[in-house]
Amino acid sequence: MGQAPSSTAESNGREIDLRLISPVIIERRESMDRDYTGDLPNECLAHVFQYLGAGDRKRCSLVCKRWLFVDGQNRHRLSLDARDEISPFLPSMFDRFDSVTKLALRCDRKSVSLSDEALVVISVRCLNLTRVKLRGCREITDLGMVEFAKNCRNLKKLSVGSCNFGARGVNAMLENCKVLEELSVKRLRGIHEAPEVIVSSDSLRSVCLKELVNGQVFEPLVANTKTLKTLKIIRCLGDWDKVLKTVGEGDSSLSEIHLERLQVSDFGLSSVSKCSKVETLHIVKTPECSNYGLIDVAERCKMLRKLHIDGWRTNRIGDEGLIAVAKHCLNLQELVLIGVNATHMSLAAIASNCEKLERLALCGSLTIGDTEIACIAKKCGALRKFCIKGCPVSDLGIEALAVGCPNLVKLKVRKCKVVTGEIGDWLRERRRTLVVCMDGDGSEATVAVDGDGEVETVVGEPRVGQAGGGVPEVVSGNGGGSRLAMIRSKFGFLGGRNLVTCTFRRWSHNDNGSTSSST
């Protein structure tokens, strides 16, 4: 029933319009005798389209010529199936879509992609492109990219994957697109044989190189671009120490560096340490890096705020390097350790010295156990988010978090085999403002401390501790935790947290959900 409208209608002494109260709409043909959208100016219609996805917009553009026009004029994002057969449709398509600023051209592996000519046809009609993604456009050569570059000078972001052009094409983009800020290159096959190197840029802020052979041709770009802030080199073949050496020797303003699955040694890490402005460093699965390299980084990168290390369980990075981090990296806010066998020796030092440490993730370590958790709990005053995954931690360690880490707001415990669900509930009771996510809580997505080493917030609703008294809240069953949730709601209003806790503890000894109630 319509609320405010009808009541106001009454108070103004006007007749209540029955149409206002009826639930509405579509079935009643009689009122749709003319095109009401005709009253709307194009900008309003365009605004409506903004709330529609690409599929719906396609259907809208088939409604009538005006809708076709408005949709086309206001399409800023377009993603096309970039097969060669698309070529005859391109002129009319881009006559209509003349406002596209973000364009993706994707061609699957089995098809022949569009050609240089087609790319040029697009580029002359899309002079305002700011972002372009090319995927699998294997027929595009350096020549096509050169022409493309000359037309699309306003490009800010370019992402290229599985294409066959080479250094000449990349250089053309860098030379012509004077405001290019982000460049991402993955599997660019044309650079394999190239003697040509990639020139530096005056505008680039972020470079990401993935799965390249002979990616070292990017050395002048990454070493000499003064504006470069972010550098990511992931799964590229060959030795990278030399490139990093050149990077380190320049007056680098890099603030973020990711090195993953690369042939990089302590020599390279030591060069990285010369980038004194580095705030974020990811060292992932680089088995030639050891404590020595990490010590160099710790000593020189005073501004380090985020450090992710995936030691790949090779045991080359451990307490020694981390103690150096504890000693020197006093600005550290975020630390992620995956496959690193750290012990309480270094973790205690980090917890004590890194007074700004807010986010900590410890994953896949053989040595991180209850002692380590306890000393973190005791000493890590600023910690807000803590994730423990696949470590030999037990309930005892989790218990320590009931009193430690006074600023903790979120705790995630995953795949720690001997940690029980009950300790999670126990902890929630003890700390009302702490969000606790454990295995078997139900709807959450996987913890994202993965290859990328990102500490991310959980998807789905974790349960916060409920009061013993007050209104019992039935948490909707989402699988594992639902039995406990239902039980909590039943006993909630009987008061006495102790009753609830004891009940949980007793039931934890029963194997399958025997529902005998406590007496």
Binding site: G2, Q3, A4, P5, S7, T8, A9, N12, D17, R19, L20, S22, P23, V24, I25, I26, R28, R29, S31, M32, D33, R34, D35, Y36, T37, D39, L40, E43, C44, H47, V48, F49, Q50, Y51, L52, G53, A54, G55, D56, K58, R59, C60, S61, L62, V63, C64, K65, W67, L68, R77, L78, S79, L80, D81, I86, F89, S92, M93, R96, A104
Partner: protein, 173 residues
Amino acid sequence: MDQNLVDLTEKLSLSSNKIVLTSSDGDSFEIHEAVARKSQTIAEMLDAGCTGTIPLHNVTGKILDRVIDYCITHVKEDGPFEEEEEAEEKEAKKKWDAEFVKVDLETIFELILAANYLNIKGLIGLTSQAVADHIKDKTPEDVREIFGIENDFTPEEEEAVRNEHAWAFEDSK
């Protein structure tokens, strides 16, 4: 909700300025200035020195009535009381908004026009979303029927557009 409105109007009487808006068909509405300022158009008029009565030639009384309801309900947003909003209030507003757009399409279009003319951002969004919801997942034929639109494509033209569309991915938004 009504008690909240009373509380709110009491709170708002801190700024005791009242503005009178008149509709195209002669209805008058007296509202607090803070409510009126939800409309960027009116806010600009007020800043430019308009006082007292503001005539709105493009909006009928019936629609203006509803627009004002919206503004009163949402006056707390980006205002001095914004921080006080709790999750419960936000939920209540969402429900109110959902009811607000449960009207016939003709009214929704009139609301869009009014919201556009008065430049009330939240209302533009709410009503645009409501219209979009009617369009979602419908075929072009259905949409024409709902909105009373004539198909002015020739079969060849329509075919040409459909051919183009075959090349555009659904997932781009």
